[in-house]
């Protein structure tokens, strides 16, 4: 049974991409997924890269609560599951920025170059090939809100999803460093104090 709805709940939509080592199909796992209350999600996959996707429309008082309860439920239903990321994707191309902000690619390109708008567009997070830059959506959404007073729809969750996805990545990397305590300690030194228990 999904979490009970009450009058302050809203419906939150998001996707969880995960890997289930050794699983070629989700069919044997559907009973467990329903028992864990995941029947508010559509399950798809596997994709060519072996990942599965669960698209949730989950009732909860807040977006973060919806996401966390969904991740907990997936973990309970699917022992050994590797949670890769929660979408909407934080890494965005120029075209994805245009789609999310209702602009043309050219308009966004001019904004990124400071040739239109107030300037100060966030620096790219990286290049995926010689010609294609990508940005962190959390940074871009905040710039649209602060610099242009045009907060993109759904942008209010960008910072949370960016941090959560980084935490999921860090959990995977910490597993890789399990047998290398010196390197693990080195990483721990740089964990932000906001994210370490008091």
């Amino acid at each position: 049974m999904s979490p009970a709805a009450n009058t302050t709940d809203e419906t939150h939509t998001f996707q969880v991409v995960f890997v289930l080592p050794g699983a070629e199909s989700l069919e044997p796992h559907l009973d467990a997924l329903q028992a864990a209350g995941c029947d508010d999600a559509a399950f798809m996959g596997p994709a060519l890269d072996g990942t599965f996707t669960a698209e949730f429309d989950r009732e909860a008082p807040a977006f973060a609560a919806a996401v966390v309860s969904a991740l907990d439920a997936l973990g309970a239903a699917l022992p050994g599951v590797q949670l890769l990321r929660v979408q909407p994707e934080d890494i965005v191309s120029l075209s994805a920025i245009a789609a999310r902000t209702g602009r043309t690619d050219e308009s966004v390109r001019l904004l990124t170059q400071g040739r239109r708008g107030p300037g100060g567009f966030p620096p790219a997070a990286g290049w995926i090939n010689e010609k294609t830059q990508v940005w962190r959506w959390a940074d871009v959404a905040r710039w649209f809100s602060d610099a242009l007073d045009e907060p993109p729809a759904g942008g209010e969750h960008a910072a949370f999803l960016a941090a959560l996805n980084d935490a999921l990545d860090l959990a995977a990397r910490a597993g890789d460093l399990r047998d290398r305590p010196g390197e693990l300690e080195a990483v721990m030194r740089f964990l932000p104090k906001e994210l370490t228990p008091a």
Binding site: E27, L30, D31, D39, D40, A41, A42, M44, L48, E55
Partner: protein, 74 residues
């Protein structure tokens, strides 16, 4: 003719998907499974598992419609 889905909102979304070339196979999983028109190279990703008693039938219908809208193969 396949069996109709017990939830009318879901059945309506499935019929729209079938009109767009998606294939619904009943008797699998909890009720059935849907495949996009793409073949082995599908990236949608397929298959889409259909609940017989989803937590919210209207939302399950929306999930089907979003999947159809995102599909690159039709």
């Amino acid at each position: 003719m396949r069996a109709k889905h017990p939830k009318k909102e879901v059945e309506a979304a499935l019929q729209e998907a079938e009109s767009a070339g998606f294939r619904v196979q009943t008797g699998r999983g909890h009720w059935g499974v849907m495949y996009c028109p793409g073949g082995e190279e599908d990236r949608c990703p397929a298959p889409f598992w259909l609940w017989s008693t989803p937590a919210n039938a209207a939302n399950h219908a929306k999930q089907i419609r979003r999947y159809v809208a995102r599909c690159q193969h039709h």
